[in-house]
């Protein structure tokens, strides 16, 4: 007789959105191993239908507060692609700067507020603030810096304002850019301290080979603003063939669509980008990766946390360079014109903190959105998370169920799932012999 276990975590904490983990092990056989996504359906594709195309970035950024710059970026690129608009080089720089701000904000929030409590043995960030006040103050300073970047570029971080087809609605002044430059340069010591914080931490051993996907920028920069989709299995697709790289499908236990690649589940996000493009990192980020001992070939999903620290350094250094380049010629750039007023299909890809984000619109001759499709990074990672859990659970069986649940939550958290994006909620439930615990449906399960 093998072991039986039933684990049931209702609403996993310290993730963005609502989800549950349900594991059912009967006589050593894993009957169920699901990450239930129970977020409320919000029908974004319906919200977009018939709306004027220029509203798309402002509507879709509301899919998720924490990824709102990424959505605005993919969305404006899809609109511009459909209408034949080619924004100028300075506009592209300003938008990339905002993406740096969002990466920085999102990664710092994840590693320092949501993951650090596990790393330092605190139940969450509030007790961490008492046991390790320096860590939390550092994280707050860095997060505030990211807000400054996004505030300067787009008025605020949550729901960026100034994304207009062909350009930006407001251009930061030279004085604003100079102030931002000072803040960014002064923060180098804090960024180094963040790397030190995560150096030498031991992560659970979990190795599982999995296809990694990332859209690499055309200009050889570290992947961020979209481009051809690359696979660790060696294949490449142009953006408009995204459906060949990623296929979405519905499963009963998730309000978020799952996705698969050519060989089953896929990984996207910081670890996938690092694997496919680590040689494009700047020297400071490379140095951080070396200090953290992050192997480009790693197959351990817990190393997402480390890849995010490396990308935090990258986003910070890139932001400094971009501000310097923008300061060379701080005059506003004219908005680029529409060259295909009859509309058509448009594809917008952005590498957002959690992975590759696809926006695909059909825009009619009246300038309105006829159809929209968005493929969200968290949805793409869900199948991989479940496959990881299937490998992980059998290795944990000697532990008490509470500890198993805790490890599984850490695993889910490592992917930094954004369930608002994927629909939105995360919860771990262990079942025993197919029966749910009495606590099913109540908070604090496990």
């Amino acid at each position: 007789m093998g072991k039986s276990a039933s684990i049931n975590v209702h609403h996993v904490t310290r993730v963005e959105g609502h989800g549950n983990i349900v594991v059912d092990l009967v006589d050593g056989e894993l009957v169920r191993c699901d990450l239930e996504i129970v977020e409320a359906p919000r029908f974004f594709e319906v919200l977009l239908r018939g709306r004027p195309a220029e509203e798309a970035p402002r509507i879709t950024c509301r899919i998720c507060g924490i990824c709102s710059v990424g959505h605005a970026t993919a969305s404006i690129q899809a609109v511009e692609d459909a209408l034949g608009i080619r924004p100028g080089p300075k506009t592209r720089k300003l938008r990339r700067l905002n993406m740096c701000g969002e990466w920085f904000q999102s990664h710092v929030l994840h590693v320092a507020f949501l993951v650090a409590p596990d790393a330092f043995g605190a139940p969450s960030v509030i007790p961490l603030a008492e046991s390790h006040p320096g860590v939390v103050k550092l994280a707050l300073r860095l997060k505030g810096l990211a807000n400054e970047v996004c505030y300067t570029v787009s008025g605020r971080h949550v729901m960026p304002i100034s994304y207009l087809p062909g350009g930006m609605g407001r251009w930061p002044t030279a004085a604003e850019l100079e102030r931002l430059h000072r803040l960014l340069v002064d923060a180098r010591a804090d960024v180094d301290a963040l790397v030190d914080l995560f150096t030498g931490i031991e992560w659970p051993e979990l190795h599982r080979e999995c296809e990694c996907l990332a859209a690499l920028d055309d200009d050889g920069a570290y992947p961020m603003m979209g481009g051809p989709i690359h696979s660790s299995l060696g294949r490449t697709w142009p953006p408009h063939r995204y459906r060949d790289a990623v296929e979405e499908y519905l499963v009963d236990h998730s309000a978020a669509k799952h996705a698969r690649g050519r060989a089953g589940s896929i990984r996207v996000g910081a670890l996938a980008r690092y694997r496919l493009a680590h040689e494009l990192l700047g020297w400071r980020a490379q140095r951080a990766a070396d200090a953290l001992g992050l192997d480009p070939e790693t197959t351990n999903p817990f190393h997402y946390n480390l890849a995010q620290v490396v990308e935090t350094v990258q986003a910070h250094e890139e932001a400094i360079s971009l501000v310097e380049e923008l300061l060379e010629d701080p005059a506003p750039e004219e908005r680029a014109p529409v060259t295909r007023a009859r509309g058509g299909e448009g594809f917008g890809i952005a590498e957002v903190p959690r992975g590759t984000l696809y926006h695909h619109y059909a825009i009619g001759p009246d300038g309105r959105i006829e159809r929209a499709n968005c493929i969200i990074p968290t949805g793409q990672n869900l199948a991989a998370i479940e496959d990881d859990m299937r490998v992980f659970v059998p290795a944990l069986l000697d532990l008490p169920e509470e500890e198993i649940a805790h490890r599984l939550e850490m695993l889910v958290r490592a992917y930094d799932p954004c369930i608002s994006c994927s629909v939105h909620l995360l919860d771990v439930r262990f079942l025993r012999g197919g029966r749910r615990n009495a606590a099913d449906g109540e908070g604090g399960g496990g």
């Binding site: 239930e36 029908f43 236990h253």
Partner: protein
């Protein structure tokens, strides 16, 4: 547990999230420099996005999101029963927000378009996306998409001091004028600042985008006047109606503007 140092005297506060982007909770976390001060004044007993602890003995509940699926209503009623003060955070909670755009379609049609017609289990949705006040008494509102950090802090301060948080009674236009943004309508942009409630500092017009009334309406909105202003700007009146659908499509609000601005939207 074991979070508080001076448990007992501080008000116990909880955060809850229904259908939304959780951006309002993120705005709460974005008060950075003042966050630790704030944490010293209250005891947070439930904030799933940031902490593991979950308790039900809260006095003040901050609730973001709209009510959209089976189970939401019961959960909201339970929160209302436990909380002495319930504060609606953000456009989704206050007005239904963008969630309510889908109310123009029967839910079955919306499900056909997005989930291949599935409405069972995790795909189940209520016929309408609904703001909180349509179901329970809401004591205070912090409006906006997202909420304004300073306005949130001000509301917390008021509640801690036992006073009533208030909202500016006037239009976004007033703040836009003070900020010397220049009128977006005069530039031919479909701006709703004339009917929208101030308090955001006219941040959207300042960054080049028209106001979309995410904070709802001010105390005395004139929708006929808005239609007239659109007409004078060379924009169809129906466009004003269409813009109002974005954040104010919940039927109670829609009834108010639709009398003056018949909508032509049929999608």
């Amino acid at each position: 547990m074991g979070t508080a140092t001076r448990r007992g005297s501080r008000p116990r506060v909880a955060f809850f999230s229904f259908a939304s982007c959780e951006g309002c909770q993120l705005q709460v976390l974005s008060v950075e420099d003042r966050l630790l001060d704030l944490l010293g004044q209250v005891e947070i007993v439930n904030f799933r996005e940031a902490i593991d602890d979950r308790r039900d003995d809260y006095e003040i509940a901050f609730v973001e999101g709209a009510i959209v699926k089976p189970g939401d209503v019961e959960e909201l009623l339970a929160i209302r029963e436990r909380a002495r003060i319930l504060v609606a955070l953000g456009a989704c909670a206050c007005q239904g927000g963008i969630n309510a755009i889908r109310n123009r379609l029967p839910v079955a049609r919306a499900a056909d378009l997005v989930y291949g017609g599935r409405r069972d289990g995790v795909f189940a949705a209520l016929p309408e996306a609904t703001p909180l006040h349509a179901l329970v008494t809401v004591d205070y509102r912090v409006p906006g998409c997202p909420i304004d950090r300073d306005e949130f802090l001000e509301a917390v301060r008021s509640l801690l001091a036992g006073t009533v948080p208030s909202l500016p009674p006037h239009a976004v236009c007033v703040e836009c004028t003070l900020r010397e943004n220049g009128c977006l309508l005069e530039r031919g942009l479909p701006c709703l600042g004339g009917v929208a409630r101030a308090g955001c500092g006219a941040v959207c017009p300042a960054w080049g985008a028209p106001c979309e009334a995410c904070r709802g309406f001010h105390d005395d909105p004139n929708f006929e006047g808005l239609g007239e202003a659109f007409y004078r700007a060379g924009l169809p009146r129906s466009l004003a109606a269409e813009k109002l659908e974005l954040f104010n499509n919940w039927k109670e609000f829609r009834e108010r503007w639709e009398r003056a601005l018949p909508s032509t939207s049929t999608t």
